[in-house]
Symmetry: C2
Subunit: 268 residues, 2 copies
């Protein structure tokens, strides 16, 4: 059903705006995604927003028209509003002309079909939402099954993480759990746990990785705790030829992930 909202103090506008804060996302089980590109990725992955806000000019693109038509066919809320109210919701001066409100989608570890993919990314205490979103985007690109977030990671449903994921949030399974729970689950089935470390001499291109590989990525500043490294089946290092001793976390994840899939894929 399409309706129009023009008032800044409309309670729904306030409620949706509050989803920029983690506390309210948790309470409501909802999060925001912005922009036609990301909303289209979601739709192609079979995910429709619970509510869709758009400015008048946001409904002109054929993909936006198709999205709105499907929302209406399914009896979902479509709200036409002003650019100013979209600004208020998104907290940006130049808001996207489309904002979707989605139900969040954590899955429990038990729901993961680990043999459904040869590669899973496991991030521990990741703090930067841009890194988290970028890792999701890379996960999609390498055909990973999903992202398992261990310990206190930044919220994958934050606006910044969703934006950096470029829609991969909707194609990757997302699990949030504690390390102990992850480890117990991991050891209950097949899976090789691989970490990158400064404390090994094993080059990352030396071993043959076994599927399903669980690629473990540590916190941006600290890397992996040594107790976590000790649980890995394999520790490897990415060569560093310069002065620095580490890569950005999302970059290191991608370099590792491409090595793993390059060992397995048939070249074009």
């Amino acid at each position: 059903m399409t309706r129009e909202i023009t008032g800044f103090s409309n309670p729904l506008v306030k409620r949706v705006r509050s989803l920029r804060e983690k506390k309210y996302r948790k309470q409501e089980g909802l999060f925001l995604a912005e922009g036609l590109r990301i909303l289209t990725e979601a739709r192609e992955a079979g995910r429709l927003p619970e509510m869709l806000f758009h400015a008048h000019e946001g409904a002109s693109h054929p993909l936006a028209i198709a999205l709105i038509a499907q929302m209406e066919a399914e009896g979902r809320d479509v709200i036409v509003t002003s650019a100013d109210i979209l600004s208020k919701i998104s907290g940006k001066d130049n808001p996207q002309a489309l904002v979707g409100v989605y139900r969040d989608q954590d899955v429990p570890l038990d729901a993961i079909d680990r043999t459904g993919s040869g590669l899973w990314i496991v991030a521990q205490s990741l703090r930067d939402p841009g890194n988290l979103g970028t890792i999701l985007r890379t996960g999609d690109a390498v055909g990973a099954g999903g992202l398992i977030l261990v310990d206190d990671c930044v919220d994958p449903f934050s606006v910044e993480a969703v934006r950096a994921s470029m829609g991969a949030l909707f194609t990757q399974a997302i699990v949030q759990c504690r390390w102990d729970a992850f480890l117990t689950w991991l050891r209950s089935g097949p899976g090789q746990l691989v970490g990158t470390s400064l404390r090994t001499d094993q080059d990352y291109q030396a071993p043959r990785y076994a599927a399903p590989t669980f690629l473990l990525v540590g916190n941006e500043a600290q890397g992996l705790p040594s107790a976590y490294e000790a649980e890995c089946d394999l520790l490897v290092k990415i060569p560093m030829l310069g002065k620095a001793d580490s890569l950005n976390a999302a970059v290191a994840t991608a370099v590792m992930a491409y090595e793993i899939i390059n060992q397995r894929r048939v070249r074009a």
Copy 2:
């Protein structure tokens, strides 16, 4: 010389604070770098700040003591100040305890010794300072000679780019130029220009890259203009196994850069 500044309205505090804006950085030829880790990377690369601000507690680490001693030995300005004033300078609630003011360091194309490294990264109209800094950090890790910024890229001396570079800003040569000037210079000597593109079927692991390789990276949203692709000696694609059609720009750069150096390096 060490002196103390306690007043918020001190003209030097205002002047340094203004360096968070590009206009003033250009005017002054100065930029800010924050935190002991980055300032130490700079020092190890032979770069000392023109001025150093620190809180009392910022001078306790041995590396900070060494930096301050060297500043004083060379007659440079060391300013002891409060956490509040450091907050004002850095624009952050929890500022780093050390802030350095550095002279900027663009080099002209003609000053580049292209055969001094087998790999150079060339970025075109890059817009995100985090991506730019991350690419510098990757450049350091792969032993690149430097980063050539073509057309209207984000300022490499912005606080965000400096921070994301984790000090690699001080180890990588940085050139800013127009595409035409770059191309004229490139073709005046040896060098293979390699771009990634969605419009090719050539897998990025198929060709043998020839040194010096100039790895050309396009704008985050648009990729490379087709006229720029047409100038490349080689166009390759990174395999995308999921729904998305592209990687984050800094991630794509790293995946390419590691392939190029992996072809050349001796494994550990």
